[in-house]
Symmetry: C2
Subunit: 411 residues, 2 copies
Amino acid sequence: MLQPWLPVAPDSDFSIHNLPFGIFSDDRPARAGVAIGNWVVDLATAYGLNMFPHYPEAGNAFRKPVLNELVALGRSFSDYVRKIIQTALCDRESVLHQYSDHLLIPQKKVQMHMPLKVGNYTDFYSSEEHAFSVGQIFRPENPLFPNWKHLPVAYHGRASSIVVSGTPIPRPRGQIGQADGTPAFKPTHALDYELELAWVIGKDSAVGQSVPVAEAEDYIFGLLLFNDWSARDIQRWEYQPLGPFTSKNFASGVSPWIVTWEALQPFRVPAPLQQPQPLPYLAHHPRQNFDLSLSVGVRPGHREEFLVCQTNARDIYWTAAQQIAHHTVTGCNMQIGDLLATGTISGKNITQKGCLLEATLNGTQPVKLGENIERRFLEDDDEVIMRGFGQNVNVRVGFGELRGKVLPALL
Amino acid sequence: MLQPWLPVAPDSDFSIHNLPFGIFSDDRPARAGVAIGNWVVDLATAYGLNMFPHYPEAGNAFRKPVLNELVALGRSFSDYVRKIIQTALCDRESVLHQYSDHLLIPQKKVQMHMPLKVGNYTDFYSSEEHAFSVGQIFRPENPLFPNWKHLPVAYHGRASSIVVSGTPIPRPRGQIGQADGTPAFKPTHALDYELELAWVIGKDSAVGQSVPVAEAEDYIFGLLLFNDWSARDIQRWEYQPLGPFTSKNFASGVSPWIVTWEALQPFRVPAPLQQPQPLPYLAHHPRQNFDLSLSVGVRPGHREEFLVCQTNARDIYWTAAQQIAHHTVTGCNMQIGDLLATGTISGKNITQKGCLLEATLNGTQPVKLGENIERRFLEDDDEVIMRGFGQNVNVRVGFGELRGKVLPALL
């Protein structure tokens, strides 16, 4: 058992088994760090103290304001860095211990930034419970389209407006269809979150080439919590025939720490059986998901936070490998820093729904936030807090929090 | 009248009034250039010879392998560079004339590259003739959805797979729905081009802020020809409910030379009247498009090229300013290097249709390529050639060619 010399709470998301990568700043500019307990390991400074002697050329990657260059060095590099830090955290003779005043910075003293320059972002629709219950709301006679069980349905999202946890979200204004069939321009009355995970792509592929499903997991650097903010009334009016656009592109949130592929391995579980069997380019064995507990809390104004969703990522119908294989099947390339989000993750029960659209049956059955407060959709000053972690008897690995507060619409 | 000292054919797209920006390489690395007649002006070398004394800090922008940094310097900068070159081209005492052996490189001796790192790419659906005739094919009872005349319908496309003219396109393979309701995995039998124009964004806006329609044109750096390659059989099976994905994301083509906003001004024309009137955030005066002749040729194998489409951009229903205002209305930001494509540009007549889906009525009425050849959709070794230009009595400004050849599907 790894026993670090600094105190890490047993329920900390940032255990010695996790060591996720992020971008932080204090009085010095934004740079790369690794989270441990309540601290950040300053990788740029650690590099200066020669903690990573096998990669003498890697110093620049630690000093950049995004992790793309670090990710581009490959999983063998990030794994090396994590192992060095893991060892140092258990060794009171280490440089990390010796220079801990310079190398370990309390998380509450730093600001976290967007971990990546996201080149391309794709949102899948890979939770069957979600696709089915949303389909039931909009098309009761036909909840799942005939293609849904044959391919991981997805759309290209907007990369530019992905923002890090803590960035406030002004209530969007846009076109909303009215009963008379014409639109009005007004603030959305149906602002929603979507609880998702987003795979970070860590390897380039070439335009015109497909990534075989058996190799697809090699393209994953790590995982983030993802909130695909959505304005349901705007979405309903605009989405035909080309899909959601202004109802989604105003902002998406990500958690600041990228949990690495290696740190997720203890939580592999079999993915749900697929019937009908998918085409061979989507077939892989073993098909596995990750047993990750996920939750959403809503905190109205300055009041207490209430949990509105508790679910798990283990039952996602289409695996990450299948998503990548399908995304590239016709020849689309993957690029380092791309995000592939799962789509809303929901379970069967009403308390397991990853968005308010489902949890309130399209606003008809409000959720309760304690005794006196209820919500059909989000109101101004509501803060949405997403959390996620994997846990077994020995190991806990989590994402920390993804927070976003709704501000009143701009005039 | 501007009279250059080097010979420029009267029908050259690259007249002294155009001077578009691109990225080229010869025996030296890729760098910025401006096209004039059959030559490229080497901007990096011109900078070294002090041709741009008012921007001493701009040298790096000319030496980069993409134009994003140059674009970021603003339209006042690019306009300054064009005016310096324009003046020099009319002055036999100029540095450009004196050092023409070093500064002017024949276009046939250079390779053109992607002019930009495209951060985000959006495809609109803004030609009414196109939307209506495609709608008629797929939904004869309901060709235009109720939202179409109220907002510029669009979807987010894939930025990573945008390739420059001349890049060959392997025939994509993917899921195609069959008569029994299940999909087969095979090469597309309905490969199509889409004739479009793409606006290059030259200015950043902030997340959470809308760009007012009256200011939207300030965000445009210039214009490209754009080919949104599409696999119609894959598209038909996958597109519900979130829009096209693998049927489009395998590749999109762009012409190598960015025609600047300033060079397009002589071709402004009134845009079609809009009925019903759009909401105030989309209303601007004067609403103008650009009178640009557009064509598509198909060259089967090593045979002759045949024109399959001649149309014009003047009748696009939603203007560039309206597209930007709508794109940002809920708070989505614009970033330098983003592309906003118009969607397929079609006219009323069958010879004015910007894609084969329309020109062949979904493959039922083949187009003739001379006496003995016809096409329902594209075949292997077909080369698609798009061209476009504006012309009045004094001025011709064009895009050059956007070429792409279909290769057989990979095994």
